[in-house]
């Protein structure tokens, strides 16, 4: 068991002093070499670059400098690929060019961005032996939009390029307009399937900026909500994975189990997605003694059935045959490219914000890990995390007194000129919200980093040399967010 880190997430800062560009870049390099990875890296309307560097168990380090005078600098991505998307964002949003970036392409085509949807510069091949397959943005099922461009040799995928941006709704702009304390419904739609993960990051950030602390029991309820969301979505993924390989029993078992879990959320807060459950300052719906024991018995019962279903699924030769060694991602890639969540843990990288940057209500936690990096590993991690989250919830519920929403605290206006970084471990991985208040307690910027932003690249790597027919299976094994990336 890892020691609980002695740090307090969310992290509150005043902006650090401006550095010279070279010092800024060297500072980042040195931190990277010391094992830090970028948490955030972006430009602001003040024409400044901000970078947050993170190491598990340590308070993230903030670096800041002005945009380079000639609006260009030597790209970090060649040396430290973890920056490749951050640098593309910076280039797209502010026209600051990272020289030598390997693929300076749009990320989400914001208003005033560098290119428009139709002009996406796909990689292409002159070879007559290769052909291209384009899929999307509208897909065959009920799925968010995105475009996948495959370069194939026969049935084999040589390369996959993923064009996103279709879901861009300007959510970071909306979050920074008006009273920051009233943005909960918006925060819940950053990715509606992660209403709690993003909602909790938002709440924690706002509470820190408003300098209030929420009673422990209420915080515990929020962690229970977070784990319920994880269980529900992992079940949805196991169901979809089973569906993709025509293991129809599994598809139906897990779908029904997900219904049970999300209906428990509905019974508490009225929403199957946990929307409206949390609020900055606490919660809107508490947990009475009766609700506590009902939830416990429902989860115990569900836990038993989940165990039966996973045991059946992972003992099925047909299932294992399709999962095993399909869509592998190496630990090296996961580390270099800043992957998190199931994507990283299935490739042997034991990172998890619940122990690396724990919110105060966490006691102890150690992430589950597998090494093979394939569909099997990602499916297994999901199954194991469901079990782990069930245990966590059972433990939390067993010591939780009746909780009333009335114990929520009210929020004074946020402190001026402060910056807050809040980190939560959503079911897809590490969620980072960076909020800065201005001198009048308005919001200067609100930056959101969904784990999918980085993790999409894992899918591109995973399908190389796989048959194109295995793409849906690989895709589902990651189950990444389009709207969380596009924002």
């Amino acid at each position: 068991m890892k020691e609980k880190a002695q740090i307090v997430n969310p992290f509150l800062y005043v902006l650090p002093d401006l550095m010279e560009l070279t010092d800024f870049l060297n500072g980042i390099r040195n931190l990277c070499l010391a094992g830090y990875s970028p948490l955030c890296f972006f430009g602001t309307a003040r024409q400044e670059l901000l970078c947050g560097m993170a190491l598990a168990g340590k308070e993230p380090i903030l670096l800041r400098c002005l945009f380079p005078q000639d609006m260009q600098y030597q790209s970090l991505s060649m040396e430290f690929p973890a920056f490749h998307l951050f640098e593309r964002e910076l280039w797209e949003e502010f026209g600051v060019t990272p020289l030598g970036h390997p693929w300076l392409k749009p990320v989400r085509f914001p208003i005033g961005g560098q290119q428009s949807m139709e002009q996406y510069p796909f990689f292409s091949s002159e070879s007559s032996a290769l052909h291209e397959v384009g899929v999307g943005p509208v897909h065959a099922g009920v799925i968010e939009p995105g475009h996948f461009r495959f370069i194939c040799h026969g049935e084999r995928i040589e390369h996959l390029e993923i064009q996103l941006g279709y879901q861009h709704r300007g959510i970071m702009n909306l979050l920074s307009q008006g009273d920051i304390r009233q943005k909960m419904p918006l925060a819940e739609c950053i990715a509606g399937d992660t209403a709690i993960g993003h909602g909790l990051a938002y709440c924690s950030a706002i509470e820190t900026l408003c300098n209030v602390s929420v009673p422990t029991a209420l915080q515990t309820v929020r962690l229970i909500a977070l784990e319920l969301e994880r269980i529900a979505m992992h079940l949805a993924d196991l169901s979809a994975l089973a569906g993709d390989i025509a293991y129809l029993s599994g598809q139906n078992f897990f779908a029904a189990l997900r219904t049970t879990i999300i209906n428990s959320s509905l019974a508490i807060c009225g929403s199957r997605f946990g929307k409206r459950w949390l609020k900055p300052g606490g919660i809107n719906y508490g947990l009475s003694k009766e609700q506590n024991s009902l939830l416990r018995s429902t989860l115990e019962e569900a836990g038993r059935q989940i165990e039966r279903c996973t045991r059946a699924m992972f003992a099925d030769a047909g299932v294992l045959n399709r999962f095993d060694s399909t869509g592998s991602v190496s630990k090296k890639a996961a580390l270099e490219l800043n992957f998190s969540g199931v994507t990283a843990k299935a490739s042997g990288l034991a990172i998890d914000a619940r122990c690396d940057f724990p919110l105060s209500a966490y006691t102890e936690f150690s992430p589950l890990c597998l090494d093979s990096g394939d569909v099997f590993a990602r499916a297994s991690i999901r199954a194991k995390e469901i079990e782990q989250s069930l245990d966590m919830i059972a433990h939390m519920l067993s010591t939780l007194p009746p909780v009333s929403a009335k114990d929520s605290v009210s929020l004074p206006p946020p402190m001026p000129d402060k910056l807050c970084i809040a980190i939560t471990e959503g079911w897809r991985g590490r969620i980072v919200h960076v909020v800065k208040t201005d001198s009048e307690s308005g919001t200067e910027f609100y930056r959101v980093i969904d784990p999918s932003l980085h993790n999409w690249f894992a899918l591109a790597l995973a399908v190389r040399n796989e048959g194109i027919s295995d793409f849906p299976l690989c895709n589902k094994s990651f189950d990444l967010s389009y709207c969380g990336t596009d924002l």
Binding site: V142, P185, G270, N284
Partner: protein
């Protein structure tokens, strides 16, 4: 094999017996009712309602994201009932209004679409376009076909090609970047066809109505056949709305 059998036995029978008349948990915030005319409450709620759904003695179901703030603060004026039957075939009737004469409020209703009733007797094929949706409505639309809700029992399904579709069901506020694909999908569906808006974002732009990254111009030129409120729309609301439109709700 025994593991599978055990799991199957415990799985039991999961389909909701009658989705059109199913009971839903009392905490579900469905069809709202206005309990009284109260200028102060409406005024106050109008100022904090995140999507401007609250007007002069009215509540617009097409805008409401069911955050619950109005009913938590003013339970004597706003009530949300565990009733999933919220769809409407007219945008106007999504606006719940207080009627001073009768001391009651209005409720949305779906008029049977005569053409669809005649044509789509046993099958109704939907093509979903998600255009800026947050994946909550998408998941609920997906869940409408799962083992619990199973709208396939009525012959209603989501199809993989626009060529096979009778209707386009839109989720999301229509992001600018998705508008062209949305229009093209509509054009690719053969006539006769209808447009269905699923969720607050699709109906009104929801929380995103003031974003300059969305574009509802083309949508505004269309005449949708059905509006299904919710944030997200509940599978039972979706199924009930669709079945009402087809004239198959007794």
């Amino acid at each position: 094999m025994f593991n599978l059998l055990k799991a199957r036995i415990h799985h039991g029978y999961q389909a909701i017996h009658d989705p059109l008349n199913a009971a839903i948990h009392p905490s579900f915030p469905g069809l709202p009712t206005i309990l009284r005319a109260c200028k102060e409450d409406f005024c106050a709620a109008g100022s904090f309602c995140p999507t401007g759904a609250i007007g002069d003695n009215s509540l617009d179901l097409g805008k409401c994201v069911f955050c619950g703030e109005c009913t938590r603060r003013f339970p004597a004026t706003f009530a949300f009932n565990p009733n999933f039957r919220m769809a409407s075939s007219r945008r106007e009737s999504l606006i719940i209004r207080w009627d001073n004469q009768s001391n009651t409020c209005t409720a949305p209703a779906v008029e049977v679409n005569a053409a669809l009733k005649k044509l789509c007797i046993r099958s109704f094929a939907l093509r979903n376009v998600s255009a800026g949706g947050c994946n909550a409505c998408e998941l609920e639309l997906g869940a409408s076909s799962n083992v619990n809700f199973d709208m396939g029992r009525y012959g209603i399904e989501v199809v993989a090609s626009p060529r096979h579709a009778d209707a386009l069901i839109l989720t999301g506020p229509v992001s600018k970047n998705m508008e062209q694909a949305f229009v093209k999908t509509w054009e690719a569906i053969p006539d006769p066809k209808v447009l269905i808006l699923c969720g607050a974002c699709a109906i009104s732009g929801g929380s995103f109505v003031n974003s300059d990254a969305i574009s509802r111009d083309w949508l505004q030129t269309m005449q949708p056949a059905l509006y299904i409120p919710g944030c997200p729309a509940h599978p039972l609301s979706i199924i009930h709305g669709l079945m009402s439109l087809l004239g198959r709700v007794k």
